[in-house]
């Protein structure tokens, strides 16, 4: 099997899976307990936290562990506490539903919302985002890498612009698709909070973290025993977060894998054989995502045909496959229903051979579906 759906989920790294299993059998004490078992769990958690912090160049105390990217995004968006008169939110129109649905929730509870559409290159312009920000803007939400297109959004410029204009808005960044592929440095990014997800970086599902700047005021989504500095009550998922820490360490080591080169080669092979295909977005991109439009074909049959030949990829995004038609991101890019948008997403483990095989399979699958298409006839 050639797995090219890493933007949807990644295989847990063997070391992370092992760390998880070990922690489940050896570190099951409650970190809040005063005895040695609790202490051992706490120590393991501290190490994991330090690794996650290191991945984004943060202080361990700035890291709040969560159940995943969605919870981290929810915390960063819904947890923002702003003065009473600050009742406006700005977000890009291509945010993941984990951000979009939550800013829409804010819009239903007394906030006004401005969504900033992307340009045809698949990126929002920093100027457009900044133009939407007002005195009463409490929150700006901008993702670092879009999960469907792979395009890198101008977060540093947005941050710099907010600072330059003296804006007090909280900048939350969904970095779920960026971490592990782009060097993320919270000291220079300029954001107030940032979300990351375990299962996108070869850690188990059900794990993630929110980074927040010291001094950024965020309210917890719920109350309880006060764990994670009161921001995320609930007995800690020691085994999961220990595995996340291990995966974070591996990420740091793997940042120099030639993922972009492999992705570029994959696209080159495909475009050489399919002149009608084109990249969905031409803006700057993260190294691991290849979003390709093949006009005049439905995506699902092509994907099933690829799957029958052992290559796994997705159309648009995994979350959208439950709905019908192009996702909000693709719609915002002007992609129409009759065109297949295929997303192939690599990992640092993807090999050159797999790239070669996948390109061949995609080309064959497209041919198979094209041949099956009823010939367009002039009459009737």
């Amino acid at each position: 099997m050639v797995y090219l759906d890493n933007a949807a989920s990644t295989m847990p790294a063997p070391e992370a899976a092992e760390a998880h299993a070990r922690a489940m059998t050896a570190l099951w004490g409650n970190p809040s307990s005063a005895h040695a078992l609790g202490a051992a769990a706490t120590r393991a958690l501290d190490e994991a936290r330090a690794e996650v912090a290191r991945l984004v160049r943060a202080e361990p105390s700035e890291i709040v562990f969560t159940s995943g990217g969605t919870e981290a995004n929810a915390l960063g968006v819904l947890g923002v506490t702003a003065p009473a008169r600050a009742r406006h939110v700005v977000a890009t129109a291509i945010e993941h539903p984990a951000v979009l649905r939550n800013v829409e929730r804010l819009a239903r509870t007394g906030f006004s919302l401005t969504l900033v559409p992307p340009g045809p290159d698949g990126c929002v312009s920093a100027d457009d985002v900044l133009a939407a920000v007002r005195d009463e803007t409490a929150l700006v939400a901008a993702m670092l890498v879009n999960n469907e297109l792979g395009t890198v959004q101008p977060v540093s410029q947005i941050a710099a612009g907010l600072r330059g204009a003296g804006r007090r808005a909280h900048l939350h960044v969904d970095a779920v698709q960026a971490v592990g592929f782009l060097p993320v440095d919270v000291r220079t990014l300029g954001a107030d909070s940032l979300a990351l997800s375990g299962h996108k970086i070869h850690a188990p599902k059900g794990t993630g973290a929110l980074w927040r700047r010291k001094g950024a005021r965020i309210a917890p989504l719920w109350e309880g025993g006060g764990q994670e500095q009161g921001l995320r009550s609930g007995t800690e998922n020691v085994a999961g977060w220990v595995a996340l820490g291990r995966a974070a360490a591996l990420c740091r080591e793997g940042l120099d894998a030639p993922v972009a080169a492999r992705r570029d080669r994959l696209e080159a092979l495909i475009f050489a054989a399919l002149p009608e295909a084109r990249p969905t977005a031409r803006g700057p991109r993260a190294p691991h995502i290849a979003s390709i439009i093949v006009p005049g074909l439905p995506a699902e049959p092509v994907l099933h045909a690829m799957e029958a030949r052992g290559v796994y990829a997705s159309a648009g995004s995994a979350c959208a496959s439950r709905a019908r038609g192009p996702s909000h991101v693709l719609k915002a890019m002007g992609v129409s229903e009759g065109d297949a948008v295929l997303r192939l997403s690599l990992s640092r483990y993807t090999t050159d051979d797999e790239v070669r095989i996948a390109a061949g399979v995609l080309i064959d699958a497209v041919a198979e579906i094209r041949n099956a298409l009823p010939a367009r006839r002039a009459r009737s």
Partner: protein, 392 residues
């Protein structure tokens, strides 16, 4: 006091000489429905089916029995000795329990008594009065013989008396199997599962036939259809689903004729495949979820053109249902939510933009002459794979 569920059947009484066979099938189906419940015994004295079940499993038994076709009503009950004291105690317990579960049922009551044992010293009205009096005294619930909130039933046989506080409707119909076997054309849509349920209700034992077209349709579509099969298996409506690979047939039919005839051509081929499979499994009829006038292929003319390719009798239980009625039925039987999942089993690639609404048999037969439709049907039927959907 032994707890049990009294199950009553209806139409079977009309069958005369066939009664023995129908009752046997009903008993088998009842037994199968409660299989797996501990310490449960099924027997059938006095013209009804009696399921003895420990009190803690009585509710679950009722739920399962509520899905047995052939039963018109069921009552969770207790069995006691046919003596007035024992019966009264049971009736008092029933009244108290009903009131505890729902205070509104404790507002008023009456007793309905019947005795099949004519040797019992009191007549039915006397029994009702005596039991009623004792229940009223013990529970202080007032008697109301016209519009009682709670009706306590007492049935006295020769060696046992039953006391119960409610009668729930059963699904009615005839026991599955007593009308023979049929083959259902099953898709992931709302209609065919509802049609299956209606057919099974009249006693047909069904197998399902699903036409699968990978890669135009994915594994999730197949899983969805099997899920529907399992939901129907809870009613014993379906036993297995046959999955027939239809991709090549669809492609060749699509190329054979004019675009607008495509859907009619597919459905005629499906009928041929269904005929062959029906022969193989001993089914005497085909069942479809067709409805009059809903989509282009379901006009009278098209239905006739499609049916002309079938040898077997074709039953269409939903032909006169409104969509809203079909949806209500699908919700009731537990298939609507599954059908509503987005994994379609017919890729839009193969449906022409303007399907013919009145395809003429002559045109269709001419298109079919371009291929060997009988050989193609043989091929598809031979490749059909049986998947069990029984809950075991």
């Amino acid at each position: 006091m032994k707890s049990l569920v009294l199950c009553r059947f209806g139409e079977i009484f009309l069958k005369g000489a066939n009664r023995g066979r129908f009752e046997r099938l009903l008993h088998d189906n009842v037994r199968a429905a409660v299989a797996g419940l501990p310490e449960t015994k099924v027997d059938a004295p006095h013209g009804r089916v009696r399921v003895e079940v420990p009190a803690q499993h009585q509710e679950e038994a009722c739920e399962r029995l509520g899905r047995v076709f052939g039963l018109v009503s069921l009552s969770p009950a207790v069995a006691v000795l046919p003596e007035i004291d024992a019966i009264a105690d049971a009736a008092i317990a029933v009244a108290r329990a009903a009131r505890a579960r729902d205070p509104r049922r404790g507002e008023s009551f009456k007793v309905e008594a019947r005795r099949s044992n004519k040797q019992f010293p009191l007549s039915s009205p006397e029994i009702a009065r005596e039991i009623g009096g004792r229940v009223a005294a013990a529970t202080e619930i007032r008697v109301d013989v016209h519009a009682p909130a709670l009706e306590i039933g007492v049935e006295i046989a020769r060696d046992v008396a039953y006391v119960f506080g409610e009668t729930r409707p059963g699904p009615g119909g005839l026991p599955v199997g007593c009308s023979g076997r049929a083959l259902l054309l099953l898709s992931g849509g709302i209609d065919s599962p509802a049609a299956a349920w209606l057919a099974a209700k009249r006693g047909l034992a069904l197998d399902g036939l699903y036409f699968h077209s990978p890669p135009f349709v994915g594994e999730k579509s197949r899983d969805k259809v099997l899920s529907l099969g399992r939901a129907l298996a809870r009613w014993r409506a379906l036993d297995s689903v046959w999955v027939a690979p239809f991709t090549e047939a669809q492609q060749r039919l699509r190329e054979a004729g004019r675009a607008e005839l495509a859907v009619v051509l597919y459905r005629r081929m499906m009928m041929r495949v269904a005929d062959r499979l029906a022969d193989r499994i001993g089914a005497e009829a085909l069942v479809t979820g067709e409805n009059l006038g809903q989509v282009a292929s379901q006009t009278l003319r098209n239905m006739a053109t499609i049916e002309a390719a079938a040898r077997h009798l074709v039953l269409r239980p939903l032909s006169t249902y409104d969509k809203a009625e079909t949806v209500a039925l699908a919700r009731r039987i537990g298939t609507f939510d599954i059908s509503a999942l987005p994994y379609d089993d017919c890729c839009s690639l193969f449906v022409p933009p303007h399907p013919a609404t009145a395809a003429r048999l002559g045109d269709v037969e001419q298109a079919e002459r371009a291929l060997d439709v009988e050989a193609l049907a043989d091929q598809v039927a031979a490749a059909a794979e049986r998947v069990s959907v029984r809950e075991e």
